[in-house]
């Protein structure tokens, strides 16, 4: 296990810049914390999960599928440098693992893997959660992990690339620090964990009446923020832009909370009511995905709850659901 002192961080990251395109947790001018470039704001490793869909690094809100200029079809050029991304706490890493599997399954989504495959992902854990709270280490699911022990960052590599990147760092000075990393329980208990499992159980056993979805749907203003902020939401729409010489086809994040999401040209719509759409949003994560992938696809990152203007993110809905139908 390696170590790095806070004052050496900037130097460490800038030493990577010739090889990697760096994306790090930064603080934007109004106090919003995101994964971004150091040009946009100072490094901000503390504070837990950043806002914004962290998986956007590999699946951006809008990306070009191809362009056709004067009859010649072209895919977007590959990036000059692979990505080095820091800022995934364990829950976000779980989300990444989930969508890695999703995009690889069956037909492999080469557009996603073009960015993902060459990327190095660093986890974040330790006493760097909101207000200095403890985030238990992921212990995997990433190339390397930074663990804040309240005075230094302990760095562990899980992959060959990770090991190469930290090869130049000094070994941990104090064995006590390494001990601390190992002692933190792998599964940090979270009351939301129990809650979401309970809600999932209620859904899978059909114990939630239709009227519940209509009621929640009544409070939805169809902003689509829940889907757009969710690290495991992967739905997209496709558009063509045509000018005299060039056509560009691109894909953009889509939302199952929109009436047009499944509406067919003839008007038939399997998700044709607010209640249906609201149910789908929750049911997909808590019942459909468990059936297909063997796990709930909400990893409790809290982003949809933070972004929802009317307080009906998945944790809030699960709470209501469990309170009423347990």
């Amino acid at each position: 296990m390696k170590t790095i002192t806070p004052d050496r961080l900037d130097q460490f990251f800038s030493s990577l810049e010739p090889v990697w395109e760096l994306r790090l947790p930064i603080l934007l001018p109004d106090g919003t914390r995101v994964i971004g470039s150091l040009n946009d704001g100072p490094l901000a490793l503390h504070g837990g999960a950043v806002s914004g869909k962290p998986t956007a690094a590999f699946f951006p809100q809008q990306s070009t599928l191809f362009t056709v200029t004067d009859g010649a079809m072209q895919e977007p050029p590959p990036a000059d440098r692979p990505l080095f991304i820091v800022g995934f706490p364990p829950r976000d890493l779980a989300c990444l693992r989930f969508i890695d599997r999703f995009f690889a399954d069956g037909w492999r989504d080469d557009l996603y893997f073009r960015l993902r495959q060459r990327a190095t992902v660093a986890g974040l854990s330790g006493y760097c959660g909101p207000g200095g709270s403890l985030i238990s280490p992921a212990g995997g699911d990433c190339d390397l992990e930074f663990f804040w022990d309240r005075s230094n960052w302990l760095v562990t590599a899980y992959s060959e690339t990770g090991r190469k990147i930290i090869a130049g760092l000094p070994e941990t000075a104090t064995p006590e620090a390494a001990e601390l990393f190992l002692q933190v329980p792998a599964e940090f208990p979270d009351k939301n964990e129990t809650l979401i499992r309970h809600a999932s159980e209620l859904l899978r056993t059909n114990r939630v009446p239709e009227s519940f979805w209509a009621e929640i749907g009544d409070r939805c203003i169809a902003c689509t923020g829940c889907n757009l902020a969710c690290p495991t939401c992967t739905c997209f729409g496709v558009q063509d832009w045509r000018s005299a010489k060039k056509t560009e086809r691109s894909r953009m994040w889509d939302s199952c909370q929109l009436d047009g999401f499944m509406r067919e040209a003839g008007g038939h719509n399997p998700l044709g009511s607010e209640a249906e759409r609201t149910r789908r949003r929750i049911h997909h994560k808590l019942a459909a995905d468990p059936q297909k992938w063997g796990e709930i696809s909400c990893f409790l990152c809290g982003r949809c709850d933070a972004v929802c203007p009317t307080g009906i993110g998945i944790i809030a809905v699960a709470r209501e659901l469990v309170a009423r139908f347990r």
Binding site: W241, S243, P309
Partner: protein, 678 residues
Amino acid sequence: MTRTLTVCPYCGVGCTFYLVSDKGRLVGVEPSTTHPVSRGGLCVKGWNAYAFVHHPDRLTTPLIRRDGQLRPASWDEALNLVVERLQAVQAKHGKDAVMFASSAKATNEENYLLMKLARAVFGTNNIDHCARLCHSSTVTGLAETFGSGAMTNSISCFDQTDVILVIGSNTTEQHPLIGSRILNAVRGGTRLIVADNRRIRLARHAELHLRHKNGSDVALLNGIMHVIIAEGLADREFIAGRTENYDALAESVADWTPERTAAATGLTADEIVAAARLYAGAERAMVVFSMGITQHSHGVDNVRCIAALAMLTGNVGRPGTGVNPLRGQNNVQGGCDMGALPDLYSGYQKVADPRLRDKFAHAWGVSSLPAEPGLPLTRAMDAASEGRLHGMFIMGENPMLSDPDQGHARKVLENLELLIVQDIFLTETAAVADIVLPAACFAEKEGTFTNTERRIQRLYKAVEPPGKARADWEIICDIAERAGYNGMRYTSPAEIMAEAASLTPIYGGIAYQRLAAHGLQWPCPDKEHPGTPIMHLDRFTRGLGHFSPVVHRLPAELPDAEFPFVLTTGRTYFHWHTGSMTRRTHLLAREEPHSFIELHPDDAARLGIRHRDMVLVSSRRGEVRTEARVTDMVIAGVLFMPFHFVEGAANALTNNVLDPESSIPEFKVCAVRVEKMP
């Protein structure tokens, strides 16, 4: 990957977000988590606000009409021609033969400059903007009663109120992040009254949903005030200490018994009494209103009644109270503040006042400024058809689709001697122009927008404009220079704001370095002033609040045997006005791909019209084909149609009858017929 903080270009709520760009191209949007208004959220339009910016339809070069066709031209050619032809029209027909239409989509700095261009360079007060079509009734009505036409309170007040009366505002669709606050407030125990005959989302959460007849707002509000006075619920202390002319009001509502009100509104007497008791019984009550109140031939009267209702119950000048007009456009408040109005300079300073004319003339370095108020935008079409107006310079507006009585507007615009349009897309209006100037959009320039709660916020440049397009402020300065005026040399929008602030007392303390991430709320008279979240705290801007009694008048055109339905127009959640941006945004266009009309199931059954049938809708002005949406959103006898769509344009039907005081058109009521297409 770069992030640039900016202000949403759609509604007046003023949410901020970051534009995400990669190698000079926008690839997405991320909300600001700290913003006091949006608090980390956005609506669907905000989440998609990046998506039209690089659309291939963007204007990239100036265009000049030659041999009937718009053809590319250089900036030199185009701007010299702009000046030459504007001057020629003025030489031939007089200074007031040209009109400048500013834009509630443009920045404060650009609105300030266009009004300066009109007044100082071209010597006319013919400057106006689309506030004329949305809240001119509010500005007039509240200026008379309170002394200031803006929202009295702040958006944060929605979290601190006991009762909210929403009248003529579909808040969750048109001001979604305020609508959301209302929904949250209701869950927290705030009681909600919705007065609107459409079954809007808020109505599902309301304790009282008053589905009163279109255009019967004065009757309803007078009736409510009658009950409040009759039942002794009025705030005697507030009336005595803060207001004047109460007796005249009391007398004017004395006849409006619940029974008479019920007959005039189509409600029951019980509903009126319940609404009065609920609103007046609250410790803190707010009124929220929008186009449903203002867009009537008696729009100013509607606003007077709302002001009176609030004063009658002492609901002004405290947190969680107030009269809260929700401004439509992102910068319609700023457009008004900056004096893009025919009778007012920036900060609502009257052009009729010789001392103010002198002040501006001196500051602008001109010998004199025109004294007569200019033409309101809505009177421009008539002025042109009567031979009083021959040239128009339109910046960022699309009257071909947004003005009432489209047939008339089209004829006038096509027959103008000179039409210049400055815009980001070739809109329906730009398509008939003589000269088209390509402008930068919100993401491609700096400036400030003022939101509905008077919050002045900065936008920052995220990407370069396409092709040769330039920021509106740069184009305006260039025109001034070519017209021989040397008083418009600025290196940045910050300098323009510094000048505007020096001439505008309510913006006196505004400077870019003070705006930071969350801006300042005017009135902000000096550099130390922290801004004003709540107005009229101890005294009204005009001193005492004035009760203005109002006589109920019916809408100008009512249904009859030939045109048996009331048509009311508005917008949908997914589109913005004439759709030049939202119809080019994939997800938004997919949600509402085409024109439609809402029709009550009983009416539909009677006329043999089924959901999704094509129907023909006609009025005395025109007819359109559109798709029927059979829904109980509307009451029987009333049809609703959005005005976004050029194919099936609602404004081909609407009635260009104006409120005599504010010149706002009666978009909310006209008489139509609907029939199934053969």
